[in-house]
Point group: C2
Chain length 457, copies 2
Amino acid sequence: MRSSLTAALFCAIGTCVVVFGNEKAISVNLANSTVELIDYIKADDKAIGWYWLAELVDDFGHRHLGSDALEEAIDYTVAKLEADGFDNVHTEDVPNLPHWERGADKVIMTEPRNFELTVLAVAGIDPARVRGEVIVVHSFEELKQANAKGKVVLFVSPWKGYGDGTNFRRGADKVEAVGGIAMLVKSVGPFSIGSPHTGAGSKASIPAVCVTIEEAEMIERLTARGKTVKVDIEIKSKNIGTVTSRNIIFDITGSEKPNEIVLLSGHMDSWDVGQGALDDGGGMAAVWQAMLSLKQLAEKDPSFKPKRTIRGVFWTAEEQGLLGAQRYYETTKGGNETFFFVSETDQGAFRPRNLKSKLNFKGNATVERTMTEIAALLTENDLPLSIVPSNDQGDVTFWAQSGVPSVNYVSDQGEDYYFYFHHTRGDYMTIFKKDDIQYVAALLAGMANVLAQIQHW
Amino acid sequence: MRSSLTAALFCAIGTCVVVFGNEKAISVNLANSTVELIDYIKADDKAIGWYWLAELVDDFGHRHLGSDALEEAIDYTVAKLEADGFDNVHTEDVPNLPHWERGADKVIMTEPRNFELTVLAVAGIDPARVRGEVIVVHSFEELKQANAKGKVVLFVSPWKGYGDGTNFRRGADKVEAVGGIAMLVKSVGPFSIGSPHTGAGSKASIPAVCVTIEEAEMIERLTARGKTVKVDIEIKSKNIGTVTSRNIIFDITGSEKPNEIVLLSGHMDSWDVGQGALDDGGGMAAVWQAMLSLKQLAEKDPSFKPKRTIRGVFWTAEEQGLLGAQRYYETTKGGNETFFFVSETDQGAFRPRNLKSKLNFKGNATVERTMTEIAALLTENDLPLSIVPSNDQGDVTFWAQSGVPSVNYVSDQGEDYYFYFHHTRGDYMTIFKKDDIQYVAALLAGMANVLAQIQHW
């Protein structure tokens, strides 16, 4: 109890609310209904969110931008959401998206012995055939000092998190600038079982290829021992103009403030290796289960009907730089609707196990106080969660930057374990335990229920 | 102190030995020299064992039976051992070994959608083209009940350890017996990142292929949902007659009982995916570092010179069923030498972290008492170790069955973590921390020093 604050007790029919000098945003009534909702989802013994996702990923495979599978998966999902009875189910076009297709790219080490490396090209590169000597560098500083002209540059850096790692994956332009003929990069990730990583690159005209952690470190040792390492790089991947894809939108329409939107999101597209179960099928499945459960309770008990509209959005073209979300931000800006709150879940829909699980949060102090109340309520209900101020808002960064309060869920397993599988051939349903999705759904539903009902921040 | 036992104190020059009713095998002198040896190896700040192994695996790649790389790696290792100054360095031929080469095998799922599975053929199969419907079974009992005639049978069973898993991998003969046209099997292992497993199979004439854990579980879900799954299996792997390979033998000759052998071993050959750093390069490197260190100390201080001969052996053709070790057992049986003690290290040369690390032990109660003394001495010196009676003696099983005391080192990480990488493309140097090899070397050297010096068991 905050003893320095004035406290008062208000009682209505059957309900008492203790209000301190800093009035709490969550009334006892709202807290109770939120706990009921959380318990409802946690009691899911059929793991409906996990199976919803399993059907999507098993039946369509990867959902890489430009693939038939992505657009078919979008059609399928829209039909399912309509059958579920959500409001306002529709798609919105996102045109002029980059269309790149992976080919059977090969990197053969030709010296000191003949050996085919296990690789995945970085996205956006075109067919090429390059042969040359490899030099290994560990930083951009070292690249500047090295004589990289006419060489293949291999970046080998220790795992310091995804942001640091992607700097190197996106480093082909810097290699090209110093006369390098191709970039190889140690796969971005903390742990591997011979599984190369892929992802977006830079604007460069030289080949850019991820090598497994194991083989990158092997080449590092070979060159450190004074061996000359040469490679023959054959790229068959290619850019194929542009393509149009679609964001999926679905609502539970608000009863009092239908034009104020509480947005929950994940992204539909994936890379073309693995099946995008983790990145970001799990985010979508958790949003779906959260909203379905809230809708089901509201059909029996009108007090669960949200006052604001809760909107689910499944973005497209996230992997190419948040392009689906950016388009939606631009087309909705200045419209009739206002965004009260935005959220994304794209770093693993893993059940939170401890207080290292967090909502990366961007917003003002008043909103942060309410979010801290929500986190405390969730933590009390077996969903341990911290609120951590951060600019890392992923797809909803556009709203966050324009002043809309936003969060990005990162479980304790989202910090490191997530990157075992991220953008690899290992991104399959097997990653998730059956209860992961439902616990994240409970978290999102609990949060959204409060935010759609509170009178003020 | 065992208070029920009679104790006596014997003192010689500067040394006192407490002897209980059950006399201890390890004198204080021997314990002290063993601790000095252990400390010498633990102080290795250059990780010489790790780098010894790195050069072997980086320079030659995998060492699959029948490959040039295996025989070249054997030549290279022999030359290194000679340069180290070991005694009696030589190879012994192991003829009539099965020669099988992996081809570009493919398994395409053709229904319910078109998708190339990530697979590794089980060894020993021949070219074939088979198309058929997949049925999923979880046990041999279920196989008997199923209508497998004309079907492709996929075994999907939960990880219950390697022994259980290999029963399914070796199950093609059972599938063939009930009219199945091919066997698929969920990769044997507790954890995966899209990394299929391989290994030896059964004598069967139908294709036998390991599917990743992720994709096997996907097919299991598809069939459980009533979907018809069909596959097109194209095998290009083939058997190519027989081949001769070689075991490597090297000694530190005993000063008093040169014909009594304390044998430390690992195996040289590996599967053809990955590089056999774990399986079993690490075992070899630890044996090498243990023996080199003992030899170096003995050159300065004759008290380290073993009374019995300490022999290192690097087996060939372990992966095809301990064939190198079996041959050596048969050719040495009844010879001038007697085997006092045999050991193998083939389940990960990981540093022991806790008392789950163990020597699987086979021998009588007297020997077990001495081994328990050795384990206590090692445990006191940061090498925690239990002695666990077990028939699982790997390569040295032939001696173990004939009554020679034997052990098989399994670290705490050898029980589960080892099988993350075992027989996959992930078997590279990256698995080991730099100090893993030296701590296992310290363990083996400490044990061998005692066993080569003690007067009796």
